[in-house]
């Protein structure tokens, strides 16, 4: 039961037509399929390889349009440059802090509400579910949200990032589905033993839900780590920005919405090509490093949500 959330059902390929019945058409299909899927892998990975190659190359080769798969004029000078920029590290630290704080708030609120929604006997339960689900399909929109957050005095604080997005309804439904799948007998026995609702949630339900909780933490953490728009909108001071906004402002030099004179600056922009590549690599790296280890939790989370999505 504890591991329900962590593993998907083993993939069950369609049975291969046996022995001599393998037709030529099928063999041709398999070959074509292999080519297509290899193409998918190459196309997916190429931008990563390209950006690493650019980040390690000499500026002159990039401008000449000669860098694709391998670095030309290998040097680490730009890496040294970016890593010695104290604002880059300040912003990186902000990203970490925002992610941790926002994820903690999100997990607490989501867990509480999902647990309440999972209790089928509860009066008003369907109204409580409806309140959450309706917001998936209709939202107040950008301007009223901005006006609200501003008038609550949350501008230029971490709360503008962490609070307005604290509950993701999809995650909420995933967790609710998981809680519903837990055997009721356990909780009933705990109640007979004198535990109240909070005790049951903390000591019985949560220890059984480590897998789904881990998945939720990852879902939230990745979305907060990657977010930039809330910070872009609500944080005016450079030393408050997360690293995504740092990167955004770097690349906005080329085609950003505010930069009307983009073309006039084209020469200058070219000189920053390596700088951008290096910053992209350094912001992508943490995700690439943890990705292989956490990927399956994401997959199982989606599956769990799909059961009752």
């Amino acid at each position: 039961m504890v591991t329900t959330g962590t593993r998907q059902a083993p993939p069950r390929p369609r049975p291969r037509p046996r022995g001599s019945r393998v037709s030529r058409g099928y063999r041709v299909f398999q070959a074509v399929n292999a080519v297509i899927l290899t193409g998918v892998v190459v196309v997916t990975l190429y931008p990563f390889v390209n950006i690493v190659a650019r980040s390690l190359s000499d500026e002159a080769y990039i401008i000449a349009g000669q860098v694709s798969l391998v670095p030309r004029g290998f040097n680490l000078e730009t890496y040294r440059l970016v890593m010695s920029d104290s604002m880059f590290w300040t912003n990186y630290r902000n990203t970490v802090v925002y992610t941790v704080v926002a994820t903690v708030i999100a997990i607490v609120l989501t867990t509480c509400y999902a647990y309440v929604l999972s209790k089928k006997h509860l009066r008003g339960r369907s109204a409580l579910v409806g309140i959450a689900v309706f917001t998936m399909f209709f939202s107040g929109g950008l301007i009223p949200n901005y006006v609200l957050v501003t008038s609550l005095g949350m501008k230029n604080t971490i709360w503008a990032i962490a609070v307005p997005n604290a509950i993701n309804v999809f995650n909420l439904l995933v967790m609710k589905a998981f809680f519903e799948s837990l055997p009721v007998e356990l909780e009933e026995a705990a109640a007979v033993d004198g535990l109240n609702t909070y005790g049951i949630l903390l000591r019985i339900v949560l220890p059984l839900s480590k897998a789904v909780a881990a998945t939720m933490v990852l879902f939230y953490a990745v979305s907060f780590w990657n977010s930039w728009f809330a910070a872009f909108l609500y944080l005016d001071q450079q030393d408050l920005w997360p690293v995504t906004v740092y990167l955004r402002n770097l690349i906005a030099g080329a085609t950003g919405a505010e930069n009307v004179g983009a073309i006039a600056e084209a020469d200058e922009v070219q000189a920053e090509a390596t700088l951008k590549a290096v910053t992209i690599v350094l912001t992508t790296l943490p995700i690439l490093l943890v990705y292989p280890f956490v990927q399956r939790y994401f997959v199982s989370g989606v599956m769990l949500g799909a059961v009752k999505g």
Binding site: V40, A64, P144, F298
Partner: protein, 330 residues
Amino acid sequence: MSTPGTLHPPPPAPDLPATGTAPAPRRRKRRRTWRQAVRRDWQLYSLAVLPLLFFLIFRYLPMLGNVIAFRRFEPGGSIFGERWVGLRYVRMFLNDPSFWEAFTNTLVLGALTLLFCFPLPIVLALLLNEIRTRKLKQFVQSVSYLPHFLSIVIVAAMVMQLVSVDGTVNQLVQAAGGEPVPFLQRPEWFRTIYVSSEVWQTVGWGTILYLAALTTVDDNLYEAARIDGANRWRQTWHVTLPGIRPTMVTLLILNIGTFMAVGFEKILLLYNPLTYPTADVISTYLFRMGFGSSNFSYAAAIGLFEAVIGLTLVLSANLIARRTVGTSLW
């Protein structure tokens, strides 16, 4: 899942969600059972207080805040505006050619995204499903999921590098004997760039639910189809696709629901004044109206219009799906 009535703010107190369920004659009895429910489950209700506050303040209050679309709003004043101006802002955007340009672009980009990003995951899932080697299949899956985990800023940055004058795409153009093109400054290229990057980022991850659905198709059906003389193509057409139809319909409805909200953040990162003619969508236009020109009421009117269309689309898609194929979200 009762949604009617929730357009208005939900009940004030978490333990009294009396969203018009009780007809008048049975009121006394209802109230008694409510009291019993609260007495028995007050601890559960107490857990719902903070999340409900969250929904009320950060989801439903902004919905009400949309009244500034019909009221004059002054920065620093009330979040619900100062005085009624009726449909002034609605008339304003209906007579605004830039709005209609953005509206058209939204429809075109939304339609193109739907056209590519809805069917391609199905195709990829079917192809993946034909791989016999388990390790190989897992490898392809892992690689294709990867772009989903990147920040949209990183994706936009990569796109910019790839299509820049010295980027890979222009290297290919030159290898084919062409002149380098500054793609991001060319309105005629924006749609291609946008949709390709969407495909790159979403198609792999989109296969997950289909792959799960594929494992649930009954093997006996394939056996029966084979005995009836169906080749693999016909098996796919007559057994596999009907088997994953509920998943397809559900995802189609969800896709249609996000139709109007086409990639706001990505477009904001990728577009520039030169590409506005094809790139500017409703959400980016209202963003500029609100934050560039500080006309909050006008922007809110556009936003409300967008949200209402979005909701209408989901509801009608859901209704059509229920009537025709018997699958729906609720």
